[in-house]
Amino acid sequence: MSAATRRSSGPGRLLIAVYAVFALAASARAAVQIATKFDEAPVAYLLSAFAAVVYIVATVALARPGVAARRVALTAVTVELVGVLTVGTVTAFDPGDFPDDTVWSLYGRGYGFVPLVLPILGLLWLRRTRDSEDAGR
């Protein structure tokens, strides 16, 4: 198997599928929130939209071969981890700033904590597939 396709095969196939589910879910949720009730909680809804963009970028970058895509994926997954940790912590201690839920609220409790586990698995997977790509460059 060539180095370029390795990231989207094997366990990566499953990882990208889960990322795609979250990209879809977060996008749909953000679109509905912003279109129907943006004034109620603009900060939370903009954050929803931001999370959606992060998931979309991560999904596409993980699925695409090449060193550039790997770098984009690494950035997106890192932003995702920082995002879920920051928003999770803020919402755990002071829910007042986030009157409505986002994907990352309470470390993604509304989604079975998958949003917390996903970026960790993403980083591990990127690390595991790194060597083969460096060799193939």
């Binding site: 095969s9 990566g12 196939r13 499953l14 990208i16 889960v18 795609a20 749909a28 679109a31």
Partner: protein, 121 residues
């Protein structure tokens, strides 16, 4: 929402997920029977969408109409997308994608039921 149709979709998708999970454990790639199975699940989802649309036209829409339609659309595309992504991977990991896609379906149906039962004001 019509309970019989909802339950048919939930049971079919869970059964399909369990079936695919067995294949993952036994290290099987996604094969033709799983495509047919996905077709059956998708057919039931399609019936559910038609029923929901007819009910919305006849009896009015639930309060969170946009969210409801969003779930309806996502439910419609998740199995075909999963199948498309799964078939290119000739290993157990391809089959595992089918498990994930099939497990999203009952979650969405339950959420749709909650929105529907909350009703319109």
């Amino acid at each position: 929402m019509v309970a019989v149709v909802d339950w048919a979709v939930i049971v079919a998708s869970l059964a399909y997920a369990a079936w695919a999970l067995v294949a993952v454990v036994r290290n099987r790639p996604p094969r033709e029977p799983y495509v047919i199975g996905a077709g059956v699940v998708e057919l039931l989802i399609l019936i559910q969408v038609v029923v929901a649309v007819v009910l919305m036209i006849a009896d009015g829409t639930p309060d969170e109409t946009a969210t409801f339609i969003g779930y309806l659309l996502m439910n419609l595309i998740i199995v075909p997308l999963g199948l498309f992504w799964a078939l290119a991977e000739k290993s157990r990991w391809g089959t595992s994608v089918l498990v994930v896609a099939a497990l999203v379906v009952p979650v969405l149906v339950v959420r749709m039921q909650q929105i529907w039962d909350a009703g319109a004001t």
